[in-house]
Amino acid sequence: MPQIYSNIDLFEKVLDALWLRNEVISNNIANVNTPGFKSSSVVFEDILKKEIEEKGTGIKGYITHNKHIPIGKKGLMDIRPQVVINKNTALRNDGNNVDIDNEMAQLTKNTLKYNSIVQLVMKEFSILKNIVNEGRR
C-alpha cells in the first residue's frame, strides 16, 4: 500500500519549485533595465520526469544514521529544482538578455500551474476526508 500522503508530498515539491520559479522570474523582471544582467530560469519538470521514468531502477543506499553519505540514485523526495543562468545570449547593446515578453508569458504560465497544483492538493485532501468519514458527509 502506498504512503497515504505520497501524492501530497510530491505536490508539495512541485509547489516549492513553482514558487522558486516565480521568484526567479520576478528577479528577471526587476532587472529588466540593469546593464549586463543575465536572466535565470528554473529547471524542474525535466528532472521530475526523468526521476519518475527511472523509478524502481537502480540502487539506493539506506541511511540509518545522520552521518551517512547518501549513495546511489536519488529518490523522488530528494530532487531539487535547479536555477540556470542563461549566459550565452545578449538581447540588447548593454548585455542584458531579459526577454520581457517571454518573462511575462512564463509568469502567467507559472501562476496557472501553481493554482492547478493547489487545486489537486485540495482534491487529495477532500478524498482523504471522505475516507476518514467512511463515505459519509
Binding site: L15, D16, L18, W19, L20, N22, E23, V24, I25, S26, N27, I29, A30, N31, V32, N33, T34, P35, F37, S40, R80, V83, I100, E103, M104, L107, T108, N110, T111, Y114, N115, V118, V121, M122, F125, S126, K129
Partner: protein, 145 residues
C-alpha cells in the same frame, strides 16, 4: 525560500523604475537650464542599476540559488559627460564672447524613450507582484476544504 521574497524583489524593481522616472522628469524639466551651482549648464543625469547579487559568503556556504537579497539596486546617479550643445544666440545673457550659448546635453527624444521603458518596466513589476499575490492567496485555500 521565503514566502514574500518574490514581492520584495518586485518591490525593488518598482523603486528603481520610479527613481529612474524621477530622474528623467528632472532631465526634461532642466532641458533649457543654462545655470547650475557650479556655473556650468545642467548635465544630464543617469541612474546606474545593478543586480543585487550574492555575497561571497553566501556562495561559500550554499551552492543553491538563495533568494537572499535579490532584486535590483541603484548604485548611484552619474552625470552624462557628453559635450554640451552649442547654440548661436548672441542676445542670451549666458552667451560667450562669440555669441554661443552652451545648452544642457539633454536629448528630449532619448528621455522620452527612456520614460516609456521605465513605465513599461514598472508595469511589468506590478504584474509580477499581482501574480505572486494570486499564488499566495491560492495557497491559503489549501487549508479550507
Amino acid at each position: 525560500m521565503k514566502m514574500f521574497h518574490s514581492i520584495d524583489i518586485s518591490a525593488s524593481g518598482l523603486t528603481a523604475e520610479r527613481l529612474r522616472m524621477d530622474i528623467i522628469s528632472n532631465n526634461i524639466a532642466n532641458v533649457n537650464s543654462t545655470r547650475t551651482e557650479n556655473g556650468e549648464p545642467y548635465r544630464r543625469q543617469i541612474p546606474v542599476f545593478q543586480e543585487r547579487g550574492r555575497s561571497f559568503g553566501d556562495i561559500l556556504s550554499d551552492k543553491q540559488w538563495r533568494m537572499q537579497k535579490r532584486g535590483v539596486r541603484v548604485v548611484g546617479i552619474r552625470q552624462d559627460t557628453s559635450p554640451f550643445k552649442l547654440v548661436f544666440d548672441p542676445h542670451h545673457p549666458d552667451a560667450d564672447e562669440n555669441g554661443y550659448v552652451r545648452l544642457p546635453n539633454v536629448n528630449i527624444v532619448t528621455e522620452m524613450v527612456d520614460m516609456i521603458s521605465a513605465s513599461r518596466g514598472y508595469e511589468a513589476n506590478v504584474t509580477a507582484i499581482n501574480s505572486a499575490k494570486n499564488m499566495a492567496m491560492k495557497a491559503l485555500e489549501i487549508g479550507r476544504i
